[in-house]
Symmetry: C2
Subunit: 470 residues, 2 copies
């Protein structure tokens, strides 16, 4: 952690923008909308956000007092109680929760070792939702492929009875664009391998680090294809198998995974609101997800998001006061196992989606925000000019108008809900993602403060102006 920041410069710039916004020489898109808060309110908010440790303290509280919280687990139940309590402590006007049914899956032990040619232990983890290996584990040869696509080109004779090792590699990228090309191997690997008769599938972790952690994450089965166990190897362990195969050896592994389905549980989307004074039915929806995988403490994924959006709303309340539109903070359940809480939210609230002015989620760690993408009407985009000007001194550029929202709001555009993406620097996000190494020490205080400031300004602008995003 480093401490702050070029606050003075940013404030000076902001105030100057605010003042300019009231002058008559501005182009149309920077004209203040009616009822807009004064520039000094935004500058006070920014000042408060830049000096506050609130987002960080919330993540610390969640990771220390709850820790891992896989959907439906005891940890998840404690997280729900924690979230209700934290919303109440922070003085939200209305705190409630909405039930979400989830299947609780338990990772259990996951051991693997090379039996031959050169015996040694390997670091693996089960992929989320995987079945266990047969009692006593399974011992068989490996067939290595370079990608999921490569796997689909093999014949059953090449794969039958073996462990498929998908040796794809994720590339590092600020926007996380390395994830897409390999995550299909994680999600679909078991199905494609099973179609060819494999006994199990192991993937090189979907991760960019060289720390010896295996990265978990959800995988899927198909109803008409046999279920086989699916795991991930750390990058270092994938290297070991690759090197043995490169020497011309047949590699035999022993894999023992004891994952379990524990049945259905009820968890909750937990929601806190500051009710709007003028348009209480207009909702500015900011969100994160409360659940996490079970090996780390879910500091980056998505404790950071939880801290950022709760803190943003609270700072607005404390600095500017009650918002004109309602600010709704949703902490979604069960994002990790397929956006389950988010889909349930849409199902349960379908007739109120028209009230949402904008929806957004913070779910990419705590790296600094560098771009604001929108999915606004032309009118809304023109009314957002002053917002872009306010965010520019914080390093946030105007992006495209084709935002998809974060994962848990990604289904809302289908219902004509405007969304934004506050794009974060994710260069190192996939070093820690879905590993035991996702812990509080990975969050830089300066970075999370910048996030909290950007979200506070964005949310205040959406809630306290009459910007028409639709």
């Amino acid at each position: 952690m480093k401490s702050t920041t070029s606050l003075t410069i940013i404030l000076a710039t902001l105030v100057s923008i605010g003042i300019s916004a009231c002058s008559s020489t501005l182009p149309a898109e920077n004209m203040p909308v009616s009822e807009a808060p004064q520039a000094d309110e935004f500058s006070q908010l920014l000042s408060a956000a830049n000096e506050s440790d609130l987002a960080y303290d919330i993540v610390k509280s969640l990771t220390v007092e709850v820790g891992p919280r896989i959907p439906g687990s005891e940890g998840d139940k404690r997280a729900v109680a924690w979230a209700e309590s934290k919303f109440n402590q922070l003085g939200f006007d209305r705190v409630y929760k909405e039930p979400v049914r989830v299947r609780n899956w338990s990772r259990g032990l996951a051991d693997a070792s090379v039996v031959s040619p050169f015996p040694q232990s390997l670091v693996i983890t089960a992929l989320g939702g995987s079945i266990a290996t047969p009692e006593g584990g399974l011992q068989t040869d490996v067939v290595m492929v370079s990608s999921l696509e490569h796997l689909t080109q093999l014949s059953p004779e090449q794969v039958n009875g073996k462990i498929v090792f998908i040796n794809h590699r994720m590339t590092r990228d600020k926007a996380g664009r390395g994830y897409g090309p390999v995550v299909s191997g994680r999600v679909q690997g078991a199905v494609e391998a099973a179609k060819l008769g494999a006994q199990a599938v192991l993937i090189r972790s979907v991760g960019t680090d060289n720390s010896r952690f295996a990265h978990t994450g959800i995988m899927r089965y198909a109803d008409d294809v046999e279920k086989i166990p699916a795991g991930a190897l750390s990058n270092a362990d994938a290297d070991i198998i690759e090197a043995m195969i490169a020497q011309g050896h047949t590699v035999t592994l022993d894999v023992d995974m004891r994952a379990k389905e524990l049945g259905w549980q009820t968890t909750y989307n937990v929601i806190g609101e500051f009710i709007g004074t003028e348009q209480p039915d207009d909702v500015v929806l900011i969100s994160a997800h409360l659940d996490s995988w079970d090996e780390g403490t879910g500091a980056l994924d998505d404790g950071a998001g939880v801290g950022i959006v709760m803190a943003a709303a609270k700072l607005i309340k404390d600095t500017i006061g009650q918002p004109k539109r309602t600010i709704r903070v949703i902490l979604y359940a069960a994002e990790e196992i397929g956006l389950v809480g988010a889909f349930e939210y849409v199902r349960a609230n379908k007739d109120q989606l028209d009230n949402i002015v904008v929806a957004a989620e913070s779910d990419f760690g705590a790296g600094k925000i560098y771009q604001l993408d929108t999915l606004f009407s032309e009118q809304g985009l023109s009314q957002a000019g002053r917002l872009f000007s306010m965010l520019a001194p914080l390093g946030v550029e105007q992006g495209n108008n084709q935002a998809t929202g974060g994962p848990d709001v990604s289904m809302l555009p289908k219902y004509d809900v405007p969304v934004v993406n506050l794009r974060q620097d994710g260069t190192y996000y996939f070093d820690y993602h879905h590993t035991p190494n996702d812990t509080l020490d990975k969050i830089d205080l300066d970075d999370i403060r910048q996030n909290q400031a950007v979200w506070a300004l964005f949310t205040a602008y959406m809630a306290n102006t009459d910007i028409q995003t639709r």
Copy 2:
């Protein structure tokens, strides 16, 4: 891994030094000693070392084909066979081994979790040599101290029946100077805690990383003090306990460690020699240790050293030919559990220590060498001037004349054996040291080539000149 290097510049500099060394204008300490090899031989050696992957390939072979090799284990036996085979493959004149008796210790499972106030799992590992916890683990409160010294200031009332948590912190340092002030907590913590009635001791890992690995390493018991289990927490997990205590809570842990003593085994110092053509009884002793801890593959500790010293000798043989003095490469057994192989070597060879021209060990990873410290006679130091000049273009400065040698040769100065330290940049060494994360991917090809080049030049100079170090 990056690839090479400003070879041309270094070679040009070296050749110019070599040529200068033959001219009459040089100061006395740079005069060539009799029978010195020609400068072009050193430059050929450097050129070969700078282009060779040999040291890296040896580490890769050891880590892939053997992997973990805790003293006395099956992995250790395979390492001994690997070392003999590798020396033979490389064409050493004489390959032999000397028996070393060791107690084989097995880590077994090590689990810990917070029972209260906030249940969550912790990442721990057993310290090397620790006893197990009682069957079923132990569950008791924590008393936190900031250092071993702080612990000794507590009263039995404060400690009795508890788990002592030594929350010392290691600082990052190029020369590894952060290790000394905290390693005493690891080695002596159990004795000091037991004196005050503790049930167990857990330390914040002796490590500089924020990866969620616990660092193992040897610990000691005293004959007259009760033995208690000793473990290490990762830095992130130490943070969690510290945060709970900072909130004013009493922290109760459940700790289950199943370490075992497996009894006495015979392992070996494995030795390869190129026999000197002119003074075969004069020995240039270069070394590393063959054993490793059991969780990583021992790439940095001390696979790198093994690769560097084997490669250095082999490159001399291939480039310059048979040395004038004997080059003896010793891969010591059981360094990690107390320099056991090294002490046995001294015991078994006490009457031949006078033959050693110089002894040195590479055991600090693969970071670049920046300094050569010596422990030479005045005459030897003056004769080493040309060596220092040769190493300068590789970034190696002349250091002090108070070298202690590496760990396994550190007892030799007592027997008047000259030693050197080829000091490596250890800035990141303790990020990986004694963790599962000590794997091949941590070695930079450029860095290990520089090490191989420096060791090759140093060894050739010691073996092929008549420098009198005593």
